[in-house]
Amino acid sequence: MSAPPTRTVLAALLRKDLRVELRSFESVPAMALFSVTTFVLFHFGLRQDSLSGDLASGVLWVTLLFASVLGINRLFVADAEQGGFDGFLLSPADRSALLLAKALALLAYLVVLELVAVPAFALLLLKPSIGPALPGLLVVLALADIGVAVIGTLVGALAVRTRARDLLGPLLSLPMLVPVVLGAARATEPLFATHAGALPLRWLAILALYDLVFALIAFALFDFLLED
């Protein structure tokens, strides 16, 4: 029997993941709630409702990072607990379709998270208006989300096959995501300054390069992570 087209498998995997999430609400609501709660805590904890510059950028990205880890930890759980891994491995489908589908699913979760988190951040903590920063911020969010999705998928696949997956997920993903958060925070910093500056291209290039390197690593390693 020949393998089905990768595009068909990818569409089936992605449709399945989004359906499961839409019906179980296991990841995205937790991620969104965590980020909004964190902004509320910062709002009262810092006794400031008007952050700008590097502090605003840092608060936004660290919060998004920790919210992402919640999604990364849950990314493969339904597959591991309900036999989806075995079902996939028994099929002749291209293994890389699973990597791509999971990365796209996580990317979708991150986009929904940011649709909630960024307005909440602007409302609760940001001093300058979000409007002028928005086009630049969207570019940074896109590059950072790709990095989080690729690294998160790689780490999620590794952690879910272990007994200590709840511990291993954050332990592995947080150090690997530090360069993403650092690059994203530095790139966002001038956008959140009282007098908004230009988007620093150097940090965007670093983010893009980091995304590319990890995409290649994930593509090379993913098959081995799925095997016994």
Binding site: R23, D86, L90, S91, P92
Partner: protein, 228 residues
């Protein structure tokens, strides 16, 4: 003309860490035949099924399935094996129809095959309900459909009639029974039922072969010895 061997196991060994799960197993099964596997809990029965299904790698010995050496040529036999194990390999949040459409896409099978199978096991009226709302017997019927979607040459069955009432057992009989004409490996704790449909009986205890003979050559006391 030589009959093609569907399974050839030579000194097959597999362990989990220090614990030997399967040791020095040598069996040959011809195409179209049924191997019955018996033994107490922890005997290595499920490990054997997972090795044959390409989900585990042997640690020593040789394993050929449908003429291909594993794990080197696993890609050539995936999609030709149907596994019906302890887990149904179905997502609880998806309906039976959605689960089967998902697995059909993984195997490159047209979705009308799923409809035929759902009708054959009497599940077409409940096929749009989430799996989590179905009884265990109904889930098992859908799992039978999932295992047979791609018309596998080799069926690996672990307690295939578990949770099925007599009427449901009759429904699945033409699909997974001897009359299906497929090569089968069946694990069960019901020796009486199993011997009637076996061409060869394998008894395992703590991963080692205690019994290997055609059913008509079996000493009845040897069977009861397996469970002492």
């Amino acid at each position: 003309m030589a009959v093609l061997a569907a399974l050839e196991l030579r000194a097959l060994t597999r362990s989990y860490g220090e614990r030997l799960a399967l040791a020095d197993l040598t069996v040959t099964l011809e195409a179209g035949q049924t191997l019955a596997v018996l033994g107490p809990n922890g005997a290595g029965k499920t490990t054997l099924l997972r090795l044959l299904a390409t989900l585990l790698r042997p640690h020593a010995g040789e394993l050929r399935v449908l003429g291909h050496a594993l794990p080197q040529e696993s890609w050539a036999v995936r999609g030709r094996i149907g596994l019906l194990g302890h887990e149904p390999l179905l997502y609880r949040e998806l309906t039976a129809r959605e689960n089967l459409a998902f697995h059909a896409a993984l195997h490159g099978v047209a979705s009308d095959r799923a409809e035929q199978l759902l009708a054959a096991v009497g599940m077409e009226r409940r096929a749009d309900e989430p799996m989590r709302t179905l009884s265990r017997g109904m889930v098992q019927r859908v799992a039978v459909c999932r295992a047979l979607l791609h018309d596998p040459e080799l069926l690996l069955l672990d307690e295939p009639r578990a949770n099925l009432d007599p009427a449901a057992s009759e429904l699945v009989e033409p699909l997974i029974g001897r009359s299906s004409g497929r090569t089968r490996v069946i694990v069960s704790h019901d020796p009486a039922g199993l011997l009637a449909e076996a061409d060869l009986v394998l008894g395992l205890v703590r991963g080692r072969v205690r019994l290997l003979a055609p059913p008509d050559a079996l000493d009845p006391s040897a069977l009861s010895e397996l469970y002492r």
